[in-house]
Subunit: 727 residues, 2 copies
Amino acid sequence: MSRTRGGFTLPGEAGYEKLTLELADRWGADVIRDSDGTRLSEEIVDAGYGIYSTICIIRGHNQWARNHMDQLQQTFLMTDPVCAEGEQVPIRLLSGYFRQQFAVNDSGESKELWQVFDRTSNREVSREDWTYDSEAQTVTIHGAVCCHLYTVNFLAYRVWEEISMYNHVTNHWDKEHLMPIDPRSSEAQEYLCQWLKRWCEDNPDTTVVRFTSMFYNFVWIWGEDERSRNRYSDWGSYDFTVSPLALREFEKAYGYGLTSEDFINMGKLHVTHMAPGRKQLDYMAFTNRFVVDFGKRLVEVVHSYGKQAYVFYDDSWVGIEPYAPAFEEFGFDGIIKCIFSGYEARLCAGVHVPVHEVRLHPYLFPVGLGGAPTFSEGGDPTKEAKKYWNGAKRALVWCQIDRIGLGGYIHLVEAYPDFVDYIETVAEEFRTIRELWQQGAPLVLDLKVAVLTAWGNIRSWTLSGHFHETYIHDLIHVNEALSGLPVEVDFISFDDVKEGRIGDYDVIINAGAEGSAWSGGDNWKDDEVVTSLTRWVKQGGVFLGIHQPSMTRGYLYSFRMAHVLGVDLDTGARCCHGKPAYELDERWSGVMGDLGKAEPVAGIWLTDPDTKVAAETVRISPMGDRLHTPTATVHEFGKGKGIYLSHFSYSVPGSRRLLLMLLEAAGREPESNYLCDNPWCECAYFPHSKVLVVMNLSEKAQKTGVRTGRGTLEFILAGYETTFENV
Amino acid sequence: MSRTRGGFTLPGEAGYEKLTLELADRWGADVIRDSDGTRLSEEIVDAGYGIYSTICIIRGHNQWARNHMDQLQQTFLMTDPVCAEGEQVPIRLLSGYFRQQFAVNDSGESKELWQVFDRTSNREVSREDWTYDSEAQTVTIHGAVCCHLYTVNFLAYRVWEEISMYNHVTNHWDKEHLMPIDPRSSEAQEYLCQWLKRWCEDNPDTTVVRFTSMFYNFVWIWGEDERSRNRYSDWGSYDFTVSPLALREFEKAYGYGLTSEDFINMGKLHVTHMAPGRKQLDYMAFTNRFVVDFGKRLVEVVHSYGKQAYVFYDDSWVGIEPYAPAFEEFGFDGIIKCIFSGYEARLCAGVHVPVHEVRLHPYLFPVGLGGAPTFSEGGDPTKEAKKYWNGAKRALVWCQIDRIGLGGYIHLVEAYPDFVDYIETVAEEFRTIRELWQQGAPLVLDLKVAVLTAWGNIRSWTLSGHFHETYIHDLIHVNEALSGLPVEVDFISFDDVKEGRIGDYDVIINAGAEGSAWSGGDNWKDDEVVTSLTRWVKQGGVFLGIHQPSMTRGYLYSFRMAHVLGVDLDTGARCCHGKPAYELDERWSGVMGDLGKAEPVAGIWLTDPDTKVAAETVRISPMGDRLHTPTATVHEFGKGKGIYLSHFSYSVPGSRRLLLMLLEAAGREPESNYLCDNPWCECAYFPHSKVLVVMNLSEKAQKTGVRTGRGTLEFILAGYETTFENV
């Protein structure tokens, strides 16, 4: 391959101008960016590269904020429950919460939204029965029932922007705490527009303004007690967007009002992993409308200075919703996603925007994920880079990404020449794949897969945050596997099922715990969902359920699709019911037995003695009995099948196994062209370029055959090697 | 000890008269009994022993039954669900059920009770929309919704009495199938009374008529397919008592009617392990009334012939309810309980009846529990006998039992002289303990324990059947431990809690899975239950919760007593919520750390960072994080405590550990008098006789000290040895 250039964003660093420019050349960079807390020097700015500058629009305005403390961002909080000792129950509002993050909003319009609950009787305490002492910031309940639990929902300002708080605390910074401005009011909007105009004027060299991100951070609620520092973190929930003004506007727009309890939800808040309700979806759509409307104005400001506007898809991304229909209205020129895994590359690629950039890992920081010593004593950044790049690459061949980039302090790489070499390889491989995509997409198999969740398309690929934050959910493993498989993948909702938009799929996957958004929660109470899917399986569809698929309570079976799956989950109510005995099925054990080796789900039993068991776990009871629990099953239903797996864990070979199982279940020829016969290798064929990309995704050398239109080709690849072959 | 006699029931065997009388002498028997399928010879009957004869009143009348097929016992059954292919859905009623056990009752009064359900929509199909073809025994639904699931509830006669069926199938008998008569009608009652009179006349030597048991068997529903032979078995449920006549009488008595669905309960039936509802309790009380009323007439017949009447507390025991207030009305002279464990001895002893007899294990059968070769090649009946006797003995010192006995074929012991010797020891030990009890009860500690369940007193000690049938429930382990501890134990209901009848207890235990009768199910939705218990703990009570105590859904916490326990269970809705970090607490680790070593309950977290963690499990996540789950905790609450254990498994040392933990939690002196310092040994002091009983409950020799009023005494005991010491 010849040396290529472009599609690479390098973090510049003042004081290391020579190094910056040298590496920009080595890695073929076309853009240099600043980072949080760094500024680029003139030497770099003048070197002819595109310049990205980072803006977090809602922070860094402490002076304005101090003069408009009522326009800080807010959130509803619930006090920890207090057990009534007598009729008077005083409850200190912020007790237990991180005092540096929150301040009570006890304005009149705020207090109207407060609610006091008797959580023992699940009844609201009427307003006449509680009083507020603003001095002590304490609500006192009068006429309480002794031994009942009471809580107060109240509104708090967030006086420390959370990303700033996190970096500050983690890195022991000693700077002024940045406050987050809520752009809901026209006064704040006016101020921010003016500020952005000034900023554009002051930064003529910037070619791209990189918004980090828009206005509202994902939710981080901290506790005062260090044992309870992390009280809540959710990458996808909307708690930090709320204010009395927002709620008034919501009511105007939707014709009904929201209460604090609609957000507090018995202290559970709106965990993105749980199936959302109608009010929550309405509020999200309402907030999305606002973020798009005001975001668009800011993008227009940027464009008016001849600059481009990219958005960073993290941090204060809430309300942006790149998969919502309104996203295109922003007018962004590009989106940047920091990725650890393949599914995040697919997530980025699927957004309707001209430029898709992924920021690779490891970051150029001394210490990485979970305290790993990446660029410090004992670290091996090259090894990390290989692992991350190979995880990403298997997805990058299946989607069109336009740019890659790094983040952090460039001077850290000086001590790691092999890292510098490896990033050169990364950049070359990336540009080669990008070039192939520019000619035309790779061939996929005749297998169309849909993932069914309560969020549907709006949470395509992701659950809520990165893989290492969500690995307890089976679905992220499924998504990561799918991100590198040669199949078409859609993310569909229960409305899609009800309204019959599933006829084209060969496989529908439903994977998650009871009540979760991934399994679907109460959506399964809708009979039309069940009948539509049942009909689709009867006609030949393959329904793959993982963990507690289609689970809800109050019906004949715990799994609403039990009749299709041929298995159900006993919640305990059937402990006196015999469960059919079975033998392992040889054929299906061979196809998928090793997928079922994960931990069993307690209570799984066969609703039909003819359900084929491909894998099981056996425990010996204290009485010496052998207790069998199926962990992988196949059930014929009409012309289709129900397949059950207790769990799915992502691995490169597991991903291949999943593909082969789905092909077998859907009655496809498993010996298709363009599949590696070694499960550690994957490949993609680009027919327009006539190039076959073969990747060894293991550390060790591998040999693999690939059946092509011209017979089976054999490849021997070094660890993590990728080869591009004209076929 | 001198040789003693009495309190021992020996199974006699015709053809082995000499052996029978020799063993009766060796073991000090005063009574000889026949067994199922055996008759005693004259030689035995005339030897001067009391004679028990076994009667199962509702079977063995096949000729009458054939002439009164409409008076066989019945049950409601639900067909397996059928997925509608089109508008007409034919459902074969008995499909899947054991054809030799059931026959459809399609009489007019029966069909009025049938119900057809759309189980997808949870709606009943109206009677106009289904028809019945009695030829094909098929219900056909008209106008079904395609892809919905349909079931039929119908009434079936039971044409094979289940104990007879079980023995028949297990032992490959080839006799006529016995049919169970339902004594609901006055015609059947008249017939049975006359039959019993004749029987009494024909059996003048019988001194005790042993009823096995009354009328209605516990529930056994078999399937036709051998893979699904056991469809349902529940020692405590009332399904087999139903009939159109019974339901008419119920409606008359209770002012409301019951439907088939009240029994079928979505196919889940009324599992005794699940919390019962009001209708179920009413129906049980109604049936109990009937069984007592007609049972009393039979007992009066027996008495009129100068014989005594004992009842066997198993098999067709349903409706007898020895712990219900009406039981004494029967007028039984004794109760006989077959026991595997200590709790069953306590269960027997607690019944208000003059004579309590326990039938020991092993049975004199070639093959024992779970196919063990007890009295055949490879068996060691003496070892089994030691294990069972020691399990029973530790309970027998704490309750008054009047008789012991064996069952089965006496000739089998001929080949096992050491077994004959050991039973002599058993009989001597039993009679010594009985003698002590006759002088007065042993000393107990100042610690009053209550076990709180949805059944309360009516299911004292037992859950539903034997230990080996119920070992998956923590509570049976707790009960087995308590059965041998020197504390007072009561079994209380939620009404007892609400109505404040808990002031005397030091400890209340609630142990079980969500929704189970043992945890309490929806009883926890009653606020008064929660406040009454909260108040009691505030005032000094110790609430011990095991597994999923006080769990229900729809409240702030999953455990309604979470504020007391200081822990709660996250069902998944809190997966974004931080959980307080903790260190293991040294003091409580010492007291109870080893109780918490069982498997963790997923989702347990500390609601209060000050909750003390005595034990935990640690898993390493796929990302390398250490995931901690508390398995044993202590939480101070007012003057009392909440204690949580993820599980409790019975063992002799574990039982001691439980006692010491409860003493410590209740603030009692753990170094009390009359406790063994070796956890494998237990003792009981009988102050009226001034005798200390010290038992080694392990196979191996043990040394133990016991603190007494006269200082610490030291004992060295051989494996399973018991010593009686004058103190």
